[in-house]
Symmetry: C2
Subunit: 429 residues, 2 copies
């Protein structure tokens, strides 16, 4: 953990920089595997799964009985928690539903947007040390609310050939239609191109390692849309002398435990709070199971003391954190000044883990400063807004001249003619 | 123009296929130019502009006087038309503004989305045979409404070193902040990386040729967001025996005149209307200035007669047209059944050219079937929806157990601890 006291602006770029995950060196290898999946379908998927995951699959899809059985293994306590989270995520994402609003821009010219769910979506849930059932909820619940007709999911199975029960249970509760035991490049290729077993989808969502990221980038150039670029997770915390050091330290650490490449940042105007927070971080760290990994992530975490509120807001917006927790007294006022962030947590009793699991907001958020251009996953991510317009004969009379003049000045005769021919016909009647 | 009468479903994939614009062969060349722009900034921009566009630039930016002078050259008639179009585009896009709506998902847990304009956006307006001032409006007007703080635009100048007056005028009317005389790869590189003269932006919008498309793809892998993948423009028209053949033909041709690679499709249930429409197309074509180019585009345009309404809707949704014009009697009913399209034009007096210029809807739309996953450019394209949440002490008590159980089951101790530490502190009080 490096502490910067009143750094000059010239140093800000260095402070807010993220390690860039350059996957371009992987592109050749990943592309050749994707090509092979495109050509050989299921056979290729099975071979690569054996090669990379050391698992021999007979059926790629999780069968109904297998799925039921997995769900039965989940404790009632966890099941209830998943359902509570599902309800909150559903409530918040349903509140994002767009009403169809017709706008008459000129008398007789009516325009509107109609939201329509993407018909086929694919969700990727990574394997690894922990079962990421919360990510299943974050992706499948909004897809369901959006009205996506086919929601499929790929996730690697364990060495025993089974998908983790909690993941199966969350998928059932969230309304996933089909699950395939595929990880990494295989999963992305299967969903992008479709194979004998796996349906092709129109958009792929979900986190993953550098191979998954590279594969998503490559297929997004032509075959399928993706949610957003991915990078290591991160949090920025704004605190002051009214903040509880134990709360701040717990948030700092909960980000850090995500992975060795995670980053936690603390921005403050009060140099006095640095030492108590550091002490709390050390104390809490010693009690964590993932102590070692969390400690590694702390190595590139930073505490930055700024001169004034203007600097505080400016460096926060420049950093554009995935998660931003504001625990200072004036958290509402500061919150209003935030223009670049994925998700903002306001006040002392709003830890990031609430949003990670169950408050209702989505946890699939833009990292690495992408919050400057991207939103996190939300209901919009699963719909298209198709524009409609209807013009009456009168409406075209009102607007026709404008269109004709513009078309003529862009040298587009036929565009002009499509109006002229209608106007002259309508004049005759 | 090929006519298909009652094609079997096995032939549909061939009918609805688009020529794939594969720009990957350009990636090595385009990447090396982009790298050079990243390293050498303005000097590289000037060299490539001399090399590719045969124009020697002293200043990259359009000066204020030059801009004023250009605007003065535009006829009052065209200026008024541009203003009318601007007003309608502004009305429709302003109607898309998101109200902040707070949702209490659990007592004491409040979540909301706050729309914030992307701070810096870059618009690309191609050069070529006609001045695309309408595209300036389609991109800059919503950017302005979204509250983007810096709206810059790149467009190549003519051999005389000047940007077309109509483009300058539209940029002034729409609220563009700065214009740079850059085309092609230079423009995209400049806006993605920033140079001495050109500010770096966070998202790049606008159409272009295969070099622009390749450059946008490459910079989008890491440095900047882009609007959407690009391909040749296209229309599908649904007509029946009540449709006016002259209207249908005029729409068919107005799409075809966009470029030799444009595609017009006609879907109908009435075989009898094919011949009168073909006759009208021939008649109107002979009167067009862009006759030759339009004729080329007609070569890969298609007329398809379907068996029944189910087939009609299915093939339309499978084609997922950028523009869809429905001129049949039951246009409202059919419109309701459309799930894949960029923009839909309903009824006999709603030509595509209305939406291309002045009705208020956007004309930057997903081509090549991308409408299955992408919306056209709209107000959303220029904002991020940042999520906010505030939880009271009571709220955390209500939701805490759920978060703790889920975190423990994902083996994330510190996530659990961020809640437990707050709950135990609040219990003490």
């Amino acid at each position: 953990m490096k502490v910067y006291e009143y750094p000059p602006r010239s140093q800000w770029a260095e402070i807010t920089a993220r390690p860039h995950l350059d996957t371009s060196s992987l592109h050749i290898k990943v592309s050749s595997i994707l090509d092979d999946i495109r050509k050989r379908g299921d056979a290729a998927l099975k071979e690569y799964t054996l090669q990379f995951d050391k698992t021999e699959l007979e059926n790629l899809q999780v069968g109904k009985k297998e799925w039921d059985k997995g769900c039965d293994l989940v404790s009632p306590e966890l099941k209830k928690a998943i359902e509570t989270a599902r309800d909150n995520i559903a409530k918040f994402h349903a509140s994002q539903t767009l009403e169809i609003l017709k706008t008459e821009t000129t008398p007789g010219v009516v325009c509107w947007q109609k939201p329509v769910g993407i018909e086929k979506v694919g969700l990727y849930i990574p394997g690894g040390t922990a079962p990421l059932f919360s990510t299943v909820l974050m992706l499948a619940v909004p897809a369901h609310i959006a009205g996506c007709r086919e929601i499929i999911m790929c996730t690697p199975c364990g060495k025993n050939g089974n998908v983790h029960p909690a993941v199966l249970c969350a998928a059932r509760i969230a309304g996933v239609d089909k699950i395939f035991k595929l990880g990494g490049i295989q999963a992305i290729g299967a969903m992008a191109y479709g194979t004998e077993s796996v349906p092709k989808v129109y958009k792929i969502f979900g986190p993953g390692n550098q191979y998954v990221t590279a594969a998503k980038q490559i297929v997004s150039l032509r075959d399928v849309a993706i949610d957003m670029p991915a990078g290591p997770s991160e949090v920025a915390i704004i605190a002051d002398k009214t903040s509880n050091p134990a709360f701040v330290a717990s948030d700092f650490l909960s980000q850090a435990e995500h992975g060795a490449d995670s980053q936690s940042m603390l921005f403050t105007l009060d140099a006095d709070i640095v030492s108590p927070i550091q002490t709390e971080i050390e104390r809490q760290l010693s009690q964590l199971h993932r102590k070692e990994l969390t400690g590694k992530s702390l190595e590139h975490s930073k505490i930055v003391v700024l001169k004034n509120r203007e600097e505080l807001i400016e460096i926060t917006n420049e950093y554009a954190p995935e998660h931003l927790i504001i625990q200072s007294k004036d958290y509402n006022e500061l919150g209003e000044m935030i223009v670049n962030a994925g998700s903002v947590f306001l006040g002392p009793y709003t830890p990031e883990s609430a949003g990670d699991y169950a408050s209702g907001t989505n946890h699939t958020l833009p990292t690495s400063g992408y919050a400057k251009a991207y939103s996190g996953v939300n209901l919009d991510s699963f719909i298209r807004k198709i524009t409609f317009q209807e013009i009456t004969r009168e409406g075209l009379k009102n607007l026709g001249k404008t269109i004709e003049i513009m078309a003529a000045n862009e040298s587009l005769d036929a565009h002009k003619n499509a109006v002229s021919i209608r106007l002259s016909s309508s004049n005759k009647k």
